[in-house]
Subunit: 239 residues, 2 copies
């Protein structure tokens, strides 16, 4: 499994290309499982070279395994992309599903919205190789991606629902939940654009969260309260 | 030039595939110039099938011309994509360049920002086959697309500049012009997401413009004033 990997866990991208016979399993020096090494290599190649220009052979080569070993873990390229895209929405959905049912009872809608934005920004800031850049691929419109598209739609609907609950009367009167959801998820996805140039930082988080709350018509005081509520919610959720 | 085109100007997409020898020039029944017919066919194929999966031969076939005739107008696929992407930013830039120098003298910053958003939303609503879905392609990071990327950056910088001039003191103190520009152009590009499902309508225009103004901290009254200013500006500009 770890044949020829005495290089002390350098990140996979910095390691020199290895010569010799491909292994049946990727090495484990990176700390990633074989499955995750394949996903990471696929993400890198899809984003750098394009999805249709990337072969499973190229992915296997980048990991340093045989193509057959890749097929042991994944049925093919679409399977890889579905799983990668899912990592860009599922973690946010998992947290927010537990939150939404408590709104507006024990949790303020604006606080829950701010928490959702913060979680979603972090999820998008962590996707392998900024895989969100591939949302617009024609392939992602196909049947095989129904599950991913349903997840992203659920996330967008949650934005619309929380945003509408948090919104002032004039926003609720003029912007439908569907439109507000589309605008708020778009704002969170500013992260995808930012990551093409640089890392996302705390000021980005603050600016994006603040913009989402202001988009719902919240005053500066209400924005500040929602931020405090969100911090409390996320601290409680992580305990 | 118009051989075999007695079909009364049906849109190119609705016309049945034509058999027989490809023409040297596309037919003119669509009302589009040969050059624009090639651009339209390229946009359709790039968006439907992907950029790297589309050949110049397939584009020529769709128009019903010989591949050599395509090369008379365009050097290749990148040349086509550069021109298509440019149509998604240049019209907005052309209008706004004349506006920016008059801010904040004879034109209010918030009014100019609202006008920019309205123009940009319309530009993006009109791009052939929603070509903005291709912004994230890896190819578009290459040297050949420097001109397009510079145009889009200028548009983003203009959003940042107008947004910062229009913003309330608390927004100016916490959100840099660079961040605000990134957020505002992202909001305008909600149009690209919307168009994947449906046409953009007046309520979308109003929601996106309103969100951009609220993102700058504007109160409901200030938003209403900015909208009126923008309408006046755009009416004057179109005379």
């Amino acid at each position: 499994m770890t044949a020829g990997c005495e290089d002390g866990g350098m990140p996979a991208d910095d390691r020199p290309a290895r010569l010799g016979r491909p292994r049946a399993q990727p090495d484990t020096a990176s700390g990633l499982s074989p499955r995750d090494q394949i996903l990471d290599a696929a993400a890198a190649l899809f984003v750098e070279n394009g999805f249709s220009a990337t072969s499973t052979r190229a992915i296997a080569e980048r990991v340093g395994i045989r193509q057959a070993s890749l097929y042991y873990h994944f049925a093919g390229k679409d399977d890889l992309l579905v799983e990668l895209l899912t990592t860009s929405v599922r973690p946010s959905l998992d947290v927010v599903r537990g939150l939404v049912d408590r709104v507006p009872g024990s949790v303020s809608a604006a606080g829950a919205l701010a928490a959702l934005v913060l979680i979603d920004v972090d999820t998008l800031a962590r996707t392998p190789h900024n895989i969100g850049t591939l949302y617009m691929l024609p392939e992602v419109q196909g049947d095989r991606y129904d599950g991913f598209r349903a997840d992203r739609q659920e996330l967008q609907d949650t934005y619309g629902r929380l945003g509408t609950l948090a919104a002032t009367a004039d926003i609720r009167a003029t912007v439908t939940p569907e439109r507000l959801g589309g605008i708020l998820i778009q704002l969170a996805e500013t992260v995808i654009q930012l990551r093409r140039d640089r890392e996302v930082d705390d000021q980005d988080r603050e600016a994006i969260t603040g913009t989402c709350l202001r988009a719902c018509g919240l005053t500066p005081d209400a924005v500040a309260t929602a931020r405090r509520d969100a911090t409390a919610l996320l601290t409680a959720a992580s305990v």
